[in-house]
Amino acid sequence: MGDKIIKKGQLPNVLKALKKTFEVFVPVREDGFYRLKPLKDGEKVDLRFTNTRLSPKSFVLPQSERMFEFTLDEKSKDAHIVKEAPKGYPPKVVFGIRPCDAKALRLVHVNFDNPEFRDPWWIKRLESVTLLGLGCNEPCSTCFCTSVNCGPFNKEGLDVLLYDLGECLLARTLTEKGEKLLQVGGVDKDADSGLKKKADELKTRAEKKIGSHVPTDKLGKKNVNDLFDAPFWDDVAFACINCGACTFLCPTCWCFDIQDEVTKRQGDRIRNWDSCMFPLFTLHASGHNPRAQKVQRVRQRFMHKLKYYVDKYKNGVACVGCGRCVNHCPVNIDIREVFRLMNDSEDSKQQ
């Protein structure tokens, strides 16, 4: 493992070679913003994007995943028996995933793969995807990754991290999967020490460019009930319209719903992204709803990311500072403000 060099002019050939083994996804600008789309033949990769509008979590946690299938046809001996839905997990490469989004997958991983339960779809999809990350030379003004144990060139979760050095890309191999990928792509030229130094400088420079910072130091030490009962939630939540935009764009929101859908006598059990912003999320069949009020739901989203997760996994906050929710909340609820409010809130006198 080590640092390789890809001349920008060679990039199309590298991707072409990868396409023989993998489905290759690249950032494509469409209708005014970027999405990760399958690379078309002869398509030139656009490296100017800041980040994709939607996070790439759907590669591992699709918005709708067919879990099982069943038949309700009484003539079948297996009528009403729920069975695995056969499906493939073709190897994929996500080219240009940003470091924050790759780290997000690591943060979510503990929810789907833990000593007690292993989520088969999450695990198989994660195994089948190789993450060829691209460091951020020009972070956005709303990025605050460096405050949350991440950064514009953070390596966590990536298989290869690319440094855009202008004429060429330096490819830093981080895993065996990444090494194999570069071999398949025919990337074999080692980077000399001068370029390595340039890459490291690029990282330092990008980190300095991050202009947005949030405090996190006291979150772990706070009493959970002090934060839960803090006086600021009504003000934070007032503007919220209870849509799921923040949760659906967020790379670390993983909550899902399970639904059965039947067409004629054939059915599927499907899991769909869900959102803690929706009242239905927690509504009991009896009609009781522990989070019936908007303020309770808004509080849940922030408490989950900035307190419950912190306490449960002792691995920092469940936020990578990508700024998607900051930019796309229609009513400008800004998680950076909530970080400040929560971290700097007063402790109760009784503690």
Binding site: D31, G32, F33, R35, R48, F49, T50, R53, L54, Q63, S64, C140, S141, T142, D235, F238, A239, I241, N242, C243, G244, A245, T247, F248, L249, D257, Q259, E261, I270, N272, W273, S275, F278, P279, L280, V326, N327, H328, P330, V331, N332, I333, D334, R336, E337
Partner: protein, 315 residues
């Protein structure tokens, strides 16, 4: 005195005099082109109130189910939605003190973002119909009129239709001959082409329901898409279910929609959802000679039965 100052002044007065218990308005957001709806209870905090061309959220959305006396800032479309709420018994007129803001259109943040092609806006100021946009190493002066939201370009009711005070002088209403020129293209399509158009329009929809939730008309305690017993619509991103949501949402708004554009501005994936409601608005105007929210007396046309209706089917 600018709109913001005037709004703060009125809000302070009505809170101090206890005309109202709370004021709903906007405060300056954390991003250059975003404003945050805010609820103010304390007269001392009215200096937070802010107004400019990025107050695109329709504040009427925050009224249903509120019990107290409320001061609310309303541009033309907001005031029409307040009128709709009053007609539909979502709020009482006596509960409200409406601070009307004559409006020359809201700026479409998306249009400015696309113009800059990836460069970020760090600061934006406006004066006399000009916008000055500043970022890292650039400054542009733009004509505000060129960057208005699509609905504002065709808006015929820029002045509030009901108000108790005004935060500025009334503006001249537009007298364009045809506010629905854009719908003509839709009408010219064949049904298959139109289906294709709408299918394409919503292909990126994530069903986050920001369009629905930003809409003041969508105040049902349980929306049909959320009902689970019975369940009307599937919850996956199956195109049929997604289309069902959009079509039914639009039909629920027919005759009630003021074309405020909040739905479109709220969409996190830039879907032009107004295409669904525009055609219905035009039909309601053509068929019933009615535009929503112009009166606090008249019920919406699709909610009205008249024994002398000239259509056969209803008799």
């Amino acid at each position: 005195m600018g709109h913001s100052d005037k709004i703060s002044e009125i809000a302070k007065k009505i809170l101090e005099e206890k005309t109202v218990d709370v004021v709903i308005g906007f405060r300056k957001g954390t991003l250059p082109m975003m404003r945050e709806p805010v609820l103010i209870k304390d007269a001392e905090r009215t200096d937070q109130l802010y107004w400019d061309s990025f107050c695109f959220i329709n504040l009427a959305s925050y009224l249903p189910k509120r019990e107290e006396k409320i001061g609310i800032i309303a541009k033309g479309c907001d005031s029409r939605n307040i009128a709709v709420h009053i007609v539909e018994n979502q709020i009482k007129r006596e509960q409200l003190y409406i601070i009307g803001v004559p409006c020359e259109g809201m700026v479409d943040r998306g249009k400015i973002i696309s113009l800059l092609d990836g460069k970020e806006v760090r600061e934006i100021t406006e004066s006399d119909g000009d916008l000055t946009v500043r970022g890292d190493g650039f400054e542009h002066t733009l004509k505000k009129g060129d960057y208005l939201q699509d609905n504002c370009i065709r808006c015929m009711h820029r002045n509030p239709v009901i108000y108790d005070a005004l935060a500025g002088d009334l503006v001249e209403e537009r007298k364009d001959p045809d506010p629905y020129d854009d719908v003509k293209a839709l009408e010219a399509m064949g049904s298959e082409e139109r289906w294709e158009f709408f299918s394409n329009l919503i292909k990126g929809c994530t069903r986050c329901y920001a369009c629905r939730n930003a809409c003041p008309l969508c105040y049902c305690p349980a929306c049909f898409v959320d009902e689970s017993d019975p369940q009307w619509v599937g919850k996956s991103i199956d195109p049929t279910d997604t289309m069902t949501f959009h079509i039914l949402r639009a039909y629920h708004c027919a005759g009630r929609c003021t074309d405020c554009g909040a739905c479109e501005q709220a969409c996190p994936v830039d879907i032009k959802v107004r295409f669904f409601t525009r055609k219905l608005n035009k039909d309601v105007l053509d068929l019933y000679d009615c535009e929503a929210g112009l009166s606090t007396e008249e019920r919406p046309p699709l909610d009205t039965y008249r024994p002398d209706d000239y259509d056969e089917f209803i008799r």
